[in-house]
Amino acid sequence: MHTTMREFRDRAAKFGLDRAECTDCGRMNDPTAELCYHCGGDAFEDVTLSPRGEVQTYVVQHALPETFDTPLPIAIVETPEGGKVLGMFTEADEPHSVAIGDTVTIELKRFDRQDGQVLYEPKFRLDGGSSA
């Protein structure tokens, strides 16, 4: 899909951290979901996730395109609302200091360029880490 439309379409979930909470099973879905991914329910409540959470699991990537600094940890973070966010750590953090259970702040950061556009992603910054 063209970069412009993809970035526009995905932004509520990606940058607004908007989710649709299933009123049947209580689990989180993409804000555009029509049926719950988990139970098939069709009733939702709009939820905005807090920009902070806890590392549930992570993997340290060593082989990436050269525009990225490696090693670079990628993690799933759970917010206090029970929503999960998949993302990279910011390049400001030491890659080997990440551990399961660490608390992080979710911040808007630059990710890549495509079609001459700057792409952003929510990234994780370790609390108590570098202020960048």
Binding site: F15, G16, A92, E107, V118, S130, S131, A132
Partner: protein, 323 residues
Amino acid sequence: MAHVTTRELVLPGYRVSTGTIRDQWGGGASGVQHKTVQAKDDDPTTLATRAGRAALDGRTDVDAVFFATTTPVYEYGSVTPFLADSLGLDDDTHVQTFGESARAGTAALRAAGNAVDGDSDTVLVVAAEAPSPAPRSDWEKVAGAGASAALVESDGEGLERVAAGTCARPLLDEWQAPDSDTLSTADDRFARNIGYVETSQQAIERALDAADWSAESLDALVATHPNGKFAGRLAGAVGVGDDVLATPAFGREYGNLRAASALGSLALADLTAGDRLVVAGYGVGTADALAYEVSEPPAAASVADESTDLDYVDYLDHVDQLE
């Protein structure tokens, strides 16, 4: 009447000493000892998001976002709607972008004050810079990164705007042509004195006149810090003591944050209820000065001390100048 109710400064956690840069290229000292440097995945938009989020502190009742930067991500195309959206604001928020010179920050602050005296109640002003100066240029020796923000409201406690002054002169003391990647600077003392010092001084004296205040009655002066020296000279020209110039070390410690400089200095200024304050911004022959009475000092921003010192090659990588 317009009030500034919050003030914020975000400095990226990296810096480079200007000695490190001079060791590469030589040249004289500008009074800047360190300049702040963006993370590799930061740009004016990401820094502005952090500062704006801190200034809003969860609020979304904002009528307008005014974004000031001289290092825009696009030659053509606005990131201000993206900034507003990233701050959780609805698409009925009026957005406006200010640029052209380092005065953009105070131009936005003045416009925000006018807006809340008119059709708006609350305006978020954010200024951010993430420069990528050409290696070996004069600009490389001073250009710093950071973001500052202020919330301007028609009601509330904080800094109450009393008067404004301006001075706009056709003096091109800095310029960069579209086909050039280097900032040119009229670095002779005459241009600098007529430019930064005299133009800022004119705007400040006009604001003082309009407020019916004397320079002696001023408790705090916040100014743009183009380097480590000029703000002190400006204070002298206005006739206020060293104790009145807020954050005298701002330029020395962080460098030239251009549009974010005056608002950043405001975020750190030591203010007391009852103070008379002037905030002055300068860029390329133009200056704005805003006179405020402090009804209650908005909480000052805290700048993290922890900062990683970069060597020259790492610094070039951070500012996207590594070939």
